[in-house]
């Protein structure tokens, strides 16, 4: 988790300055912590909104509160091959246009519908089709990593479903009907 702390402290480098037209004074810096992705803070915000649509806050915390977007970017930056990273970033960058009006502006239900639609996009070899494939790849990767990062978070593994380093003696014939667990309401 060192990187997350580092992010909070030194977070930003002023990358891409030369590319930004001089009239654009909005600060949208490249995040140094994920150097292979060259991801901007606005793109990370969008990723946060998407992951929070996949697992929203309710009675218990959602993906955004658990810093899942940081986890996703760490995994994509560190544990994926270059080609996959590039597909992921292309999909992320193509998503706003796919979402139509700002994703931000949509209601939770609309956001969910949009992500669901994107998860099932089918592409082809045309330029347009490739973009669809990238969006679909980006969203499925994001969903998978959101689930992983959420379930394997400190919060879930300590407060909601405590993880045990000592699982106990093996029982090789447990009747499923004997297992009763209280239902957790998200």
């Amino acid at each position: 988790m060192n990187r997350r702390h580092a992010l909070r402290h030194i977070a930003l480098i002023s990358g891409g300055l030369a590319l930004i037209p001089s009239c654009d004074f909005s600060s949208d810096d490249i995040l140094a912590a994920y150097q292979k992705l060259k991801v901007k803070s606005s793109e990370k915000e969008l990723l946060g909104a998407i992951s929070n649509t996949i697992i929203p806050a309710g009675e218990i915390k959602g993906a955004l509160e658990l810093a899942v977007p940081d986890f996703i970017l760490v995994m994509v930056n560190d544990c994926m091959e270059e080609e996959s990273q590039s597909r992921f970033m292309k999909g992320l960058r193509a998503f706003p246009e796919f979402a139509g009006k700002g994703f931000d502006q949509l209601s939770p239900k609309e956001k969910e519908a949009k992500v669901k639609e994107g998860l099932m996009l089918e592409g082809d070899d045309t330029e347009e089709g490739k973009v669809k494939q990238d969006i679909q790849y980006f969203l499925n990767t994001t969903k998978r990593l959101t689930i992983q990062g959420y379930m394997a978070s400190e919060y879930i593994q300590t407060e909601i479903i405590p993880y045990s380093l000592i699982p106990g003696e093996y029982n090789g014939a447990v009747l499923i009907s004997d297992l009763q667990k209280p239902r957790i309401n998200g």
């Binding site: 996949i54 380093l165 699982p167 106990g168 093996y170 029982n171 090789g172 447990v174 499923i176 957790i184």
Partner: protein, 569 residues
């Protein structure tokens, strides 16, 4: 100017030197120290003290930045070690990285190494099945390699000796191919595995068996192991991180601290062994030359007896690099066979499937072992068109998973309340005996050196036609056994992995009766230099199918007692 720091020769003289601190070196040192022998243990890597140097042992899943996965950059730089199943974020620090210790692959060979105190005993799979005479008599019966100079009766008491101390859990299965030992209570098979066991009995009339594999875990008799500072296995299945309970056997948790407690052991980490020194006048080995890993300075240590336990291929390397006018081709290498007849275990193939029955059951808790098929091919007589046979791992399990189809609150609720029980997963992997051949060898590269000026090892080891036939037979037989037991959706694989990834490389300094055709005698002494003992994988005449570590432990203990008895003559 004279170096005033040079210790006197006397200060650098011991009664015995053990090269290597892994599973066999640990045993050699422990036995020697118990017998009152002042022993120096040399280890090329850094020190790893039990518990203190297990940095990840109590880390929770969320404390690993990549949740266990190895980052892509590390994988790309280290393709060989990255193929090892245990090279994960939690145990990466106990493996040799490709980039740090290069070697020459004349043919593809995944050489997996652990350069630290404890060696690979920290990382091993902890499976401990005894050999039987069906194994020791294999080469003589089937006409390959040379006859083993020992039989089961020679080694059986030493199996018992090491099993009692290391802690081996298992059931008395009463099988002649896999003799019973000194067992702590065994681990139970689960309901599906028991069902499979019954099906085997029904379908093969008692000719094939699947048992709970014997493993080096403490599963009972806690008071006895408390003397070693070890406690009951807690079923964590995080063994590769080093166990804070000492629940499984390693040099770090068991033999080394025990030997240190006798006051007879001196442990010298960071000592890259250059060669064994041969005294031409006395006609025996007189010590060991090392290069300090950090300062790169050379130093010599002396002793009456040397135990070489550097792990199979590195023991070969050290002997080859130990040249003198008496032994220009490597210590003890009068017949030119040093480095040859290297063999391994064939782990290429696996079969998996699903079982739809027993759907009312699942499992809970953890266990450190699984099922095991002892060899059933060509045991009593030759019955196939290939020599020898294979053992196989077997396991079955069933977990609960959430439905991950939805999104939003639906997804969140199903993640938090997983309720989908799939069918039982059923899996097996082969462990095939390979036939040692002169053409499978290791040698010193004439040009390439490592960072310490040591020649790089050139490895030339490959499969042969016998291995191909065995893979085919395993896949056919296991598929048939699965089908007859009602397993469905059966998938077979032959991943064509390179030799080495089994981490069971053996031979090159084989035992035998005749100095013309072997390097070591029945007591693990070099025929030509009897005060040098080799008791690790290098000494193996044939490989059989069982995981070899238990046999190395028994060899090392037996040889240590032999060495002490000899010194008293």
């Amino acid at each position: 100017m004279a170096n005033l720091n040079i210790k006197s020769k006397q200060e650098r003289t011991y009664q015995a030197i053990v090269i290597g601190s892994g599973i066999s070196g640990g045993w050699a040192a422990k036995e020697l120290c118990d017998l009152g022998v002042k022993t120096l243990m040399l280890e090329r890597g850094r020190n790893v003290e039990h518990i203190k140097d297990y940095p990840t042992t109590n880390m929770l899943p969320y404390e690993f930045e990549h949740r266990g996965q190895v980052p892509e950059d590390i994988k790309k730089e280290n393709p060989v070690v990255s193929r090892c199943y245990a090279f994960r974020e939690d145990a990466m620090h106990f493996f040799v990285k490709d980039t740090e210790h290069p070697y020459v692959q004349e043919k593809p060979f995944d050489w997996i190494r652990g350069y630290q105190v404890g060696g690979k005993s920290l990382l091993w799979a902890r499976q401990v099945q005894r050999w039987s005479d069906f194994d020791f008599e294999g080469p003589a019966r089937d006409g390959f390699a040379v006859d083993w100079p020992i039989r089961y009766k020679d080694i059986a008491p030493w199996y018992s000796h090491v099993e009692k101390f290391a802690g081996v859990s298992g059931n008395k299965d009463g099988l002649d191919v896999l003799p019973d030992g000194e067992f702590l209570p065994g681990y139970e098979l689960n309901v599906m595995e028991k069902y499979f066991q019954e099906q085997l009995k029904k379908n093969y009339g008692g000719d094939r068996h699947m048992i709970s594999a014997r493993c080096a875990h403490i599963h009972g008799n806690a008071d006895f192991f408390a003397q070693q500072g070890r406690a009951l296995c807690q079923n964590r299945n995080l063994c590769q991180r080093g166990c804070p309970f000492g629940g499984y056997f390693s040099s770090n948790s068991s033999t080394i601290p025990w030997a240190l407690k006798t006051g007879n052991l001196t442990l010298r980490p960071d000592a890259v062994v250059h060669s064994i020194i041969y005294d031409e006048e006395k006609g025996k080995a007189s010590g060991v030359r090392i290069i300090d890993r950090l300062t790169k300075e050379m130093e010599e240590f002396y002793a009456d007896v040397i135990f070489l336990n550097a792990a199979a291929l590195n023991s070969n390397l050290i002997l080859m690099n130990s040249t003198s006018s008496r032994f220009p081709n490597g210590l003890g290498n009068d017949n030119g066979l040093l480095g040859k007849y290297v063999a391994f275990h064939n782990y290429r193939a696996g079969v998996s499937g699903e079982f739809e029955g027993l759907e009312e059951y699942t499992t809970s808790g953890g266990r450190p072992t699984s099922g095991y098929f002892p060899r059933f091919r060509n045991v009593y007589k030759q019955e196939t068109d290939f020599l020898r046979g294979y053992a196989a791992g077997f396991s079955s399990g069933r977990g609960v998973r959430p439905n991950t189809e939805g999104l939003g609150m639906d997804l969140k609720n199903s993640l938090l309340n997983p309720d989908q029980y799939g069918p039982w997963y059923v899996g097996s992997h082969m462990m095939g005996e390979t036939i040692p051949k002169e053409s499978n060898y290791v040698a010193l590269d004439p040009n390439l050196k490592d960072e310490w000026g040591m020649p790089q090892l050139k490895i030339s080891v490959d499969y042969d036609d016998n291995d191909e036939k065995m893979v085919k037979d395993y896949l056919e037989q296991m598929t048939e056994m699965f089908e007859k037991a009602g397993v469905t959706n059966i998938r077979t694989r032959d991943d064509h992995r390179a030799p080495g990834l089994d981490i069971h490389e053996m031979g090159g300094v084989r035992m035998g009766k005749d100095p013309k055709t072997s390097l070591l005698n029945a007591n693990h002494q070099l025929h030509a230099v009897p005060n040098v003992y080799v008791t690790d994988g290098a000494s193996m005449t044939s490989t059989s199918t069982q995981n070899p570590s238990l046999t190395y432990m028994a060899f090392a203990a037996r040889a240590a007692h032999h060495a002490v008895a000899e010194s008293k003559k």
